[in-house]
């Protein structure tokens, strides 16, 4: 067992849940409200100095009762130590957790990916948008266990939506605002922008019987 787990327990007391090793690697559960504090403490405390964030991801188990876990893998480059910190998010509560972007800039895209794939909201994230799926993606969160492998919409519906998307749907509104020559845009595009429509999302059709 990684000695940092005991140090965490001394520092954070009840916020630290069970800890165990799997395949020789230490895993510690931390209360979801204290995760950022615990990771920040691990990062800066001398003797811990977990200065490198290896990965942020999430796990949903096949057992629908089990909470979703957000997994942080942190490493101390100098001490060559690695620790896996997990936080449990119960499914009947809002899937929310504090962002660690303030600790590691590298968490930015990793948290966006978790948001994109699992629908977990990271509080205080500077730019929480979908990253791998497009921003108007309306089928849900692909890595959730209730998401069918082929997607929620039929292939015909997916094609129809892709073909009917307008050009400016490829840009975020923020990006379009960079372009100051607004009045040079064609009339219909200006109209859509003014309405805030970016390739409006069609209503989802009745799901196919699968």
């Amino acid at each position: 067992m990684n000695p940092s787990v005991e140090a965490l327990r001394r520092e954070f007391g009840d916020a630290i849940g069970v800890a165990f090793t799997s395949c020789g690697q230490s895993i510690v559960y931390v209360d979801r409200h204290r995760v950022r504090d615990a990771l920040g403490w691990l990062k800066v405390t001398p003797g811990q100095s977990y200065d490198y964030l290896v990965d942020v991801t999430a796990v949903e188990y096949r057992d629908p009762e089990r909470p979703i876990e957000v997994v942080y893998i942190v490493r101390s480059l100098a001490r060559r130590a690695e620790l896996r910190v997990k936080a449990e998010l119960a499914k009947d509560e809002p899937l929310e957790i504090d962002s660690v972007v303030s600790l590691w800039r590298g968490a930015d895209w990793l948290e966006r990916e978790v948001y994109d794939m699992f629908g977990i909201t990271f509080r205080d994230h500077p730019d929480l948008r979908r990253i791998l799926m497009w921003e108007t993606y309306a089928e849900g969160y692909p890595l959730r266990k209730d998401f069918p492998l082929r997607g929620r919409f039929s292939r015909a519906e997916q094609v129809r939506q892709a073909m009917s998307a307008s050009t400016e749907a490829q840009y975020s509104l923020e990006e379009l605002s960079i372009y100051e020559a607004y009045h040079d845009l064609p009339m219909d595009m200006r109209e859509r922008l003014a309405r805030g429509a970016r390739g409006a999302i069609p209503d989802p059709p009745v799901p196919d019987d699968e």
Partner: protein, 426 residues
């Protein structure tokens, strides 16, 4: 110096008081009529997804002030294939073909990375010959990955010749890869507990030949680029990241080491007995595009050193573990022996169950630390298969690096990250 037509034409409008034609400096007339500065309006430029310099289907929306990059907003996902989702519906051995398609410029290293994670989960100890052969596969992958990087980056910055030389050498390794696995790109080299096949006859000689020809090719590229004025001007001081920034961005591989952080998974968290090989880890000091180039050049030379040592020590023996639960019996045994046939049937139909648990195993592939995180609930299919994608995480630093540089430097910086979109988007 002979007078060129264009100068003559331009000179004719100007006539001095004596009636003799005088030369007007090129463009001087245009300057007079040019309107005053068009102001501070920023321009929005879309680069990609179909653009050769974005190395795949990366799309960058760039805010420009004149030619200076103010902001870069990357858009990803054009190659998203849902590998991680697909993996949850497949047996461990069936996931290996998916790993080919993530970082498709070094497929064999990905195969090894996934197999190591699955074996860690199942507690399988590899045979000695398998370990050395997998290490050879990893180092071959690193060389071809870096050779592609070197060639394409040189093209991006305007030098075409290195591309031809590096792709020639890469082809020699691809021939070996094809002889070994039957495929150039989709190798699927590993199996949980072993390998698809042992190396074919003549492979060792072919690899030795590569070990002598690659340093020569690198020497030629080195002579062409390393002290080349244009190359230095285009790369030195461009896209600088300090060591603290590189760590803060979770960068890995040559990107991290070029910024001066001496971290290499092969040295710091050794796998496949890397600790028993003698090699150096090159570290840069400026963290710019030029240092990334130097680091990758030296890494290829070190890979050749490792390959030579691996060839010298390659032991005889089986490539697969002796465990009928995970390794398919030989065809002869399966056809003649009832028990062997049952094992064959169970493995193909049910897969190999992994005990409840989870494992994260990192390897150092050409792009950086490639990790495989597997969670098992005791069935033959993982609950979660997560790839830690080094290209994706390295690319996240691109907006930071490109700010304030010229648009043409953005291309050089993007090239220096060494992304492969199959892995970024997965």
């Amino acid at each position: 110096m002979s007078k060129r037509t264009v100068e003559f034409d331009l000179a004719t409008p100007g006539v001095d008081p004596a009636g003799r034609a005088v030369r007007v400096p090129l463009g001087a007339a245009a300057v007079e009529e040019r309107e005053p500065d068009i102001g501070v309006e920023h321009m929005l430029l879309n680069v990609g997804p179909q653009h050769p310099a974005t190395h795949g289907v990366l799309r960058l929306v760039v805010e420009l002030d004149g030619e200076i990059v103010v902001r870069v907003i990357p858009h990803l996902g054009y190659l998203h294939s849902g590998f991680e989702k697909l993996g949850e519906y497949r047996h461990y051995n069936q996931i290996i073909p998916l790993t080919d398609r993530t970082d498709y410029l070094s497929p064999m290293a990905n195969n090894v990375g996934f197999a190591l994670a699955a074996e860690r989960l199942m507690g399988i100890e590899l045979t000695e010959r398998c370990k050395v052969l997998r290490l050879i596969a990893c180092e071959m992958s690193r060389i071809i990955s870096h050779l592609v990087w070197l060639g394409t980056t040189a093209i991006d910055i305007g030098a075409f010749t290195p591309f031809l030389w590096t792709f020639y050498e890469r082809e020699r390794i691809y021939d070996l890869q094809e002889a070994w696995t039957g495929a150039r790109l989709t190798t699927s080299l590993t199996r949980v507990g072993g390998l698809l096949a042992d190396i074919p006859d003549g492979f060792e000689d072919g690899l030795r030949a590569c070990c002598t020809s690659i340093p020569k090719a690198l020497e030629e590229v080195d002579r062409l680029l390393t002290r080349n004025g244009i190359w230095c001007a285009r790369t030195q001081g461009i896209g600088v990241l300090t060591a603290e920034e590189a760590i803060n961005f979770s960068l890995a591989g040559p990107m991290l080491r070029a910024s001066g952080v001496p971290y290499d998974v092969r040295k710091d968290l050794p796998y496949l007995d890397y600790e028993t090989y003698d090699f150096d880890v090159p570290v840069g000091e400026h963290g710019d595009v030029y240092d990334r180039y130097l680091v990758r050049m030296e890494e290829m030379r070190q890979s050749v050193r490792i390959l030579e040592q691996a060839l010298a020590r390659l032991p005889d023996g089986p490539i697969n573990v002796d465990d009928p639960r995970v390794i398919l019996p030989s065809k002869t045994a399966a056809m003649n022996d009832m028990e062997a046939m049952i094992f064959h049937f169970k493995q193909v139909m049910e897969g190999v169950a992994a005990p409840v648990g989870e494992a994260y195993v990192a390897i150092e592939n050409g792009k950086g630390e490639q990790g495989n995180y597997l969670v098992s609930d005791g069935t033959a299919k993982p609950v979660r298969w997560r790839i830690r994608p080094p290209s994706f995480i390295n690319l996240a630093a691109l907006p930071k690096m490109a700010e304030g540089h010229l648009l043409s430097d953005l291309i050089a910086i993007n090239a220096s990250v060494d992304i492969v979109m199959g892995e970024v988007d997965r």
